[in-house]
Symmetry: D3
Subunit: 306 residues, 6 copies
Amino acid sequence: MSIPRYTGVRTFARLPHTTELGGVDAAVIGVPFDTATSFRPGARFGPEAIRSGSTLLRPYHPAVSVDVLGSLNVVDYGDLVTTPGNAERSAAQIAEGLAPVLDAGAVPVVLGGDHSIVLGELRAHAAAAGEPVGVVLLDAHADTWDEYYGERYFHGTPFRRAVEEGVVAPERSLFAGMRGPLYAESDLEDARAMGFELIQGDELRAIGPGDYSQRVRARVGDGPVVMSFDIDVIDPAFAPGTGTPEVAGLLPHEALVLLRSLAGIEFRGFDVVEVAPPYDSAAQTTAMLAANVAYEMLALTAVARG
Amino acid sequence: MSIPRYTGVRTFARLPHTTELGGVDAAVIGVPFDTATSFRPGARFGPEAIRSGSTLLRPYHPAVSVDVLGSLNVVDYGDLVTTPGNAERSAAQIAEGLAPVLDAGAVPVVLGGDHSIVLGELRAHAAAAGEPVGVVLLDAHADTWDEYYGERYFHGTPFRRAVEEGVVAPERSLFAGMRGPLYAESDLEDARAMGFELIQGDELRAIGPGDYSQRVRARVGDGPVVMSFDIDVIDPAFAPGTGTPEVAGLLPHEALVLLRSLAGIEFRGFDVVEVAPPYDSAAQTTAMLAANVAYEMLALTAVARG
Amino acid sequence: MSIPRYTGVRTFARLPHTTELGGVDAAVIGVPFDTATSFRPGARFGPEAIRSGSTLLRPYHPAVSVDVLGSLNVVDYGDLVTTPGNAERSAAQIAEGLAPVLDAGAVPVVLGGDHSIVLGELRAHAAAAGEPVGVVLLDAHADTWDEYYGERYFHGTPFRRAVEEGVVAPERSLFAGMRGPLYAESDLEDARAMGFELIQGDELRAIGPGDYSQRVRARVGDGPVVMSFDIDVIDPAFAPGTGTPEVAGLLPHEALVLLRSLAGIEFRGFDVVEVAPPYDSAAQTTAMLAANVAYEMLALTAVARG
Amino acid sequence: MSIPRYTGVRTFARLPHTTELGGVDAAVIGVPFDTATSFRPGARFGPEAIRSGSTLLRPYHPAVSVDVLGSLNVVDYGDLVTTPGNAERSAAQIAEGLAPVLDAGAVPVVLGGDHSIVLGELRAHAAAAGEPVGVVLLDAHADTWDEYYGERYFHGTPFRRAVEEGVVAPERSLFAGMRGPLYAESDLEDARAMGFELIQGDELRAIGPGDYSQRVRARVGDGPVVMSFDIDVIDPAFAPGTGTPEVAGLLPHEALVLLRSLAGIEFRGFDVVEVAPPYDSAAQTTAMLAANVAYEMLALTAVARG
Amino acid sequence: MSIPRYTGVRTFARLPHTTELGGVDAAVIGVPFDTATSFRPGARFGPEAIRSGSTLLRPYHPAVSVDVLGSLNVVDYGDLVTTPGNAERSAAQIAEGLAPVLDAGAVPVVLGGDHSIVLGELRAHAAAAGEPVGVVLLDAHADTWDEYYGERYFHGTPFRRAVEEGVVAPERSLFAGMRGPLYAESDLEDARAMGFELIQGDELRAIGPGDYSQRVRARVGDGPVVMSFDIDVIDPAFAPGTGTPEVAGLLPHEALVLLRSLAGIEFRGFDVVEVAPPYDSAAQTTAMLAANVAYEMLALTAVARG
Amino acid sequence: MSIPRYTGVRTFARLPHTTELGGVDAAVIGVPFDTATSFRPGARFGPEAIRSGSTLLRPYHPAVSVDVLGSLNVVDYGDLVTTPGNAERSAAQIAEGLAPVLDAGAVPVVLGGDHSIVLGELRAHAAAAGEPVGVVLLDAHADTWDEYYGERYFHGTPFRRAVEEGVVAPERSLFAGMRGPLYAESDLEDARAMGFELIQGDELRAIGPGDYSQRVRARVGDGPVVMSFDIDVIDPAFAPGTGTPEVAGLLPHEALVLLRSLAGIEFRGFDVVEVAPPYDSAAQTTAMLAANVAYEMLALTAVARG
């Protein structure tokens, strides 16, 4: 409180910006990539906007009684290099870029970027874990389509690619929040046939955090697991700045409570994706919400790391 | 998925644009008229914006398990001709313009335009049905005032005019969602005195879809019935782009569930009105929500037509 | 309804603009001051925007069955003079400016302005009452910090200053709605140590209006009491135009029901603060919501005055 | 400078708001009407926005060395009553509303509203002058069409109606600034055939203020004359908030110099029309520019009144 | 004028939407592609926005005295299919898509899309002409870089690719309007070394339309030639909605006069590219300006076709 | 070109962020302060926005043929600490913060912040120079008023304070660009009486860069001199995001040419102030323009340092 929080170059939550990883518990990392967006682009500016929207984040989280930024050593690692116009190459760059972070034992909190980037994340995690990883996904879409216009690396396809590559463990994964019109009845069935468990949006709202938490824990078990949060799981009034908005999503307090219900699970990594600032409100409420989601992820890390 | 959905001239949900009605089950029809607005104008651009906001609508509706665009023959009929500056003449033009659609046996889904246009719709429906039609209305206002500044054809008066003209059956109509300050206690009483049943907004939220559905079905019976959806029944955070916003409205998922609760009723026609794009969010969330409301109406038609 | 409501110079709810106080029950008063904002400025334009957003307010309040503007003599008193760049002097100017209103027996409904202005209000109320006054606060923050960057008169400090000055009665005050990251665990404890009762945001949502009303009544007792409503208690989707937004706030209908639950308490004054129009939506939904909050305050006054 | 200029209820340039006309030299008057708009509506909120945009106007005009607000007795007269949805009736109301102002010898500076309102102005001026009045028009369009969709009272038709009614003197009128695509070659020829002189936009830019001033003075002679300024004569980058924008208009400094070149002509009245705030920039630059145009009109009045 | 211009599904200038090319003089064609953008994406929505911004375009062009839409048979051909995420494949699709238009003898007016699309255009034109084509380019950038991040098909590289492929004739091409910081002095020299003539922005403003026209005519001679207009040649105040804005560009009237100065040259095709609607003003002034640029291109075609 | 320019934490023009000053030629420094704004606040976010708007700046400046970022050692020094709500203390903090930069021989390019910050800059420069410094000012206002509402440290008063403190040399200063309504004729005369030379906006446009350059050089002579650029000298269409906009300002290319005309003068420091992002366009054109102004200042430094 001795310096106005809006002073200085924008890093996440005013954290130090460094690529030195010694002793680091968690690293916030941008992936400014949006080539693989099927509707509204702009997520390449997601990391910049989320950093800007994180200015007010303070160290102590009263809802979970944790000194998040005091108990963890967290840094802003900057952005990974990607190649606009080339999603396949970018996935490789992301996997390569995350490897040293995981090797250092730090938990990456990735700020997207469109959802295609999760493929690179999963490759890195599977490589580091030596086995496929489970995914806890909150998202309006299951992202298990096969291809778009002949393109296989797209923001609606990463989890199918991940299955094909053996970097995700569907049987230890739970996808929740799906809603909105589909191409065909088979869309969600395909995801289930791959082995994923799905909880659609209406059901998710109905069961509440207690049941959700139980189902996640039952699903992920003791294996390595990561969490992916697509901001479009939230209703567009709260998160207008996103690539493929669907009406009637979760309210923010519903989503935050779902996240908090997972306290104790030791996630290997996180992402919050699909923040598209050109479509955000003048008050940048989407970016601010995404910053708070990332903050909840850090809080989960703080709890898990004791 | 072979062509980006944002390719081509904008029609509703990428449907074919035609005025040929042979074999058509439902026709989406714009009425770009806003002369009769008492506060914020702009609804003349509602049809353009809703078409733009419908780009992501896909054929299959998972929440009701219906292949909406696959099981129905739906077209985008274009816009009806109206006369800016002349609400009375426009009502006549709307009635005239809808007649061939009803004659062809197609269900019109009208995209407004301000709410004054419903008078023309009701004239057409009553003429086609040979009797007054019931109205299921979701709206922040009952729109049964007598006149504004001496003008009798206005967006706050259509249902009173419809009663006077004998084109609506109040005893088979249910109005729900009314909220916000009024001129006098008598405002809602007048509507009831005309024979309409009213459920105010707070009560509507409290009773939920089950009771709502029962009350609608009890009310409309077997007679001809249409549905009118004023976007201002939704809270302004979700639907800022409207002419006379009132705070504290329904949440979108509440409204969609109310619509779905009416499955099985055979509506003769629908409208979604009062979308005023100049006041919409940068992400066009109001227009996108209205497009989804229209999609729910098509789903109701698909269910009703079996 | 004989003249379009958007006709004429903008006063609150089209009320007469006067500083004559004879026979006046309630006076709506702007305080266009925002020097003491720690993040996003702009609340100096709050009174202008709230007046603009009040255009649609009509006399009769159906949810509480009161003819608000018909049963009370309400005026728009204009704005108080303050000094940009000098929060300490402005607090004195506000106290001085409110004195004649309180002397005349009118209930002030203050339109902020940032929350630092409440200190001047409390000084005026305590002086008029001859004793410290209780505060019923709805706010995302407790505003009991000590200082910011060495500045003691700031929008996060007014209630600590008020305690020091003996113009507030913590034991008859109830603060509710607090949420979001803090500097330290002690932040809320400090407020409690001063004697305030706090209900955090999640708890407030859980207990509902019945319990809330009981706890307020039990707390404030028979002593003089005022209400302060910081618009950031509401979720940013509904109130983006504010200085220090926090995600996951109250929904508007939740907040309005809380206000209505206090019917019968005779508040000596009210404020609605922290409306920052530069960050509002294109539809000015924050300002419109604040105007409705002020209207609820007038309704509470109408009920209390019989 | 003793009170922040943004303090208080918004009147034009912080002038007193009164309908008392004794000793008044000039009266700023809003006409919040936009029913007669052929494309983008919203000019009904023009007077509110222009008042808001006039906040920074100070008394002394250095470019013409006149103490505008010090040498003239100017008031904000408020808004005239009009009837939304009825342009014909509104024209009559405007003529009726302006009569007492002209009778009192005050120069009205009308803030529109769409351009249809000029018909009512011309009726009032012709009645007060006892003869048709000349019009000095700066506008992207000549507004001499016959009718739109069968409507004769529309914002593209007022000068033809005025000719038919004998309230304008085409032979003492000069229209300048016309540009943009037309329906047919005859559009401008028709205006010339009515007796108006036209200077198209490219020519106007080329001839500059000296020649323009000479041509205006030669045209208007000694008879009664008014000036009408349609904000769309300015390029849309500077005036985006307007109903029918045309690209490649005048730059503001070009327009202001044209206005100043007319110093010494004793205009009976002025208007600045077609400011449509819903389409304005976030900084309200259109409204601010219109306020400055009105200020130049007051300066012309100050010069003319000596 | 019998129907409001904002009625109906949006085609360019309300032209008929058809892919039938018999007797067609000119076809307006969208290419909604923006994968190859190095900074701000969104040009995929350019065709939609330009169509929307063309609503007010009327048939007769008074500045050049041509009945543009009356003397030519013009259609809206819809959009070409492209592949998001794959610029190389999209270039091939564009070339393929334009072939039947050129075969039919129609002049394509392409609405972009980012500037990478011009490569596909040039391939089609060269194939149809049987020789490389000259390019008259107005653009803030020369777009002759070699690659970005290893990607060779990008919006800064199309003219180098075109040289390599032998589809452009640099010796018959003139590039004008370049401005803004570069990577190195060699950037423009490289373009010149390829054989292109360059006129930088400051020089272009200085020489005016007369000299510009002469230099273009001297350059292009009698060979086949096309024109490409990157909207970023215009100053960002007038064209904010673009991918890589550079300050201090041309004013719109300067650009339109440059276009008109080329009357008589028989262009084989045109494009207007880099309109990125997410960054446009609320009044869509960029899109409206681009629509007018396309209209000037149709006027040039009308003049050339006699 | 090997990494997308939008990758990484935002520093000015992607420069390294450091407070190490060894061998540094120029340091870009933010001063996020806006307490002293008389109208629209928000300039506290100016440095963040200008950094964001500088993303596209590349090393080579073709208009002056200088490799700006290649020939100079430039760093982003971060932001100085200031105290919101206390302009007097902040002036002292700014002077203190700049001292080490000047001691190290680096030229500071300050990104404001409101114009009150120039007082702290002048104190630092005068201390480092051992004498008062000349000021070359481009600004819509002379900022030599005495006080606002009793406040002496305000954004309209810094040059009067600087005269009183003896840190500015009026006889070696030239102020240009003043325009817009004033309080009284004496406003500009007062500035002249203090010894400043003034060129009003209309005159500045008329004389052009040649005369301007001569007058500046004649004025500043050989003594120490700094340049201050208030973004409101530019027309609001190009620079809407500012605190006290005045219509009819300079066009950007006019301003840039004026800056370039000063090549060879060895300025000790620079600032670009009054960028208020909440009022900027969606495309952030004001911030982008300010970034280019700062880039021109670096180019002037590169030329001066050889």
